[in-house]
């Protein structure tokens, strides 16, 4: 995940940097892609600004969608694999600002995300319990959600699978 490429806007010339696989040179004013970890470090140094971040508006839309289908587990909306990580980046950014408006946004962000997580995990638990393992459904989960899904499925199978039915 930390090696996933992220789009950045280059604020200052930087490099060359040998990351072991390629040499990275960033030119001021250009748009480029760098590994997430490097993007985070360079953003802190004001060398780049990560551009493919999530916004509170987008989060609002996701929550709306999830709420509409709250009782239909199979209607899980598709999130990028690193969704929670993107949220984390947004939080860090807001936290960094340290003004009143940002604080208000932060509060709102946490509330929305909590709701999203809550609805989605319920759906995922249902899916795991019903032993639904549709490829397209799994694709809609984030990495963390897939871990939850997989674990619940396996613990149910392992724990009591040999009692029910069989």
């Amino acid at each position: 995940m930390m090696l996933t490429k992220k789009k950045v806007l280059v604020l200052d010339d930087w490099g060359p940097y040998d990351n072991g696989f390629e040499e990275i040179v960033l030119s001021k004013g250009s748009e480029d892609e760098v590994s997430t970890w490097l993007g985070i470090v360079l953003q802190k140094r004001n060398v780049v600004k990560i551009t493919d971040v999530i916004t509170i508006d987008e989060l609002g839309r996701i929550l709306f969608q999830e709420k509409q289908t709250i009782n239909t587990p199979a209607s899980l909306s598709a999130l990028p694999k690193d969704f929670y990580h993107r949220v984390q980046l947004l939080r860090d950014e807001l936290k960094g600002k340290n003004d009143l408006q940002a604080l208000e946004l932060l509060r709102k962000l946490d509330q929305v995300v909590n709701e999203i997580v809550s609805i989605r995990i319920r759906k995922i638990m249902q899916l795991a319990f019903l032993n639904i393992s549709d490829e397209s459904l799994i694709d809609r989960m984030t990495n963390e959600e897939f871990l939850v899904y997989k674990t619940i499925k396996s613990v149910i199978e392992r724990g009591i699978g040999d009692i029910i039915g069989s």
């Binding site: 090696l3 990351n19 072991g20 696989f21 470090v41 694999k81 990495n143 997989k150 396996s154």
Partner: protein, 148 residues
């Protein structure tokens, strides 16, 4: 690349993924050169990311070995040590070895040095449990088994 290996390991939940020696070798050789060339803050940060991913990869694979999936891939031999550990542990706890308070009676399979002593093949050795495991792996010793 290492992150893809971790994702794949996570996704495939009923087997250990087959990571080839060539795949891992390319990664290792690149990182090895990186370590040799640089020691600045940024490269240390980068290597930390790789270390964390390697740890996740091992954890996911180990958990599968513990659940009973067959070790395979470049790390087959090292993962298999968990199965040796299982055998030694079970045998120890269920009284299959001549033992007393964590010490196990063993025979030496070969000449090797143990502390200041050079042990010959067939010599008798009393060893703490963790050394029993290590020396079984290298085939230096065999615990004396309890039989009717």
């Amino acid at each position: 690349m290492l992150d893809d290996l971790v994702s794949n390991e996570l996704k495939r939940d009923n087997e250990i993924t087959e990571i080839s020696k060539d795949t891992i070798e390319k990664l290792i050789q690149a990182l090895l050169r990186l370590r040799r060339k640089y020691s600045d803050e940024l490269h240390i940060e980068e290597l930390k990311i790789y270390e964390e991913l390697a740890e996740s990869l091992l954890e996911l694979r180990l958990e599968k070995v513990i659940e009973g999936f067959e070790p395979k891939g470049f790390d087959k031999d090292i993962l298999s040590l968990v199965n040796v550990m299982k055998k030694v542990y079970i045998d120890y706890v269920t009284g299959k070895y001549h033992t007393y308070k964590g010490k196990v009676l063993c025979l030496s399979n070969t000449k090797f040095s143990l502390g200041n002593t050079v042990v010959e093949q067939g010599d008798v050795i009393i060893l703490p449990l963790n050394k029993v495991l290590a020396l079984i792996t290298t085939n230096y010793i065999t615990p004396v088994e309890v039989r009717e």
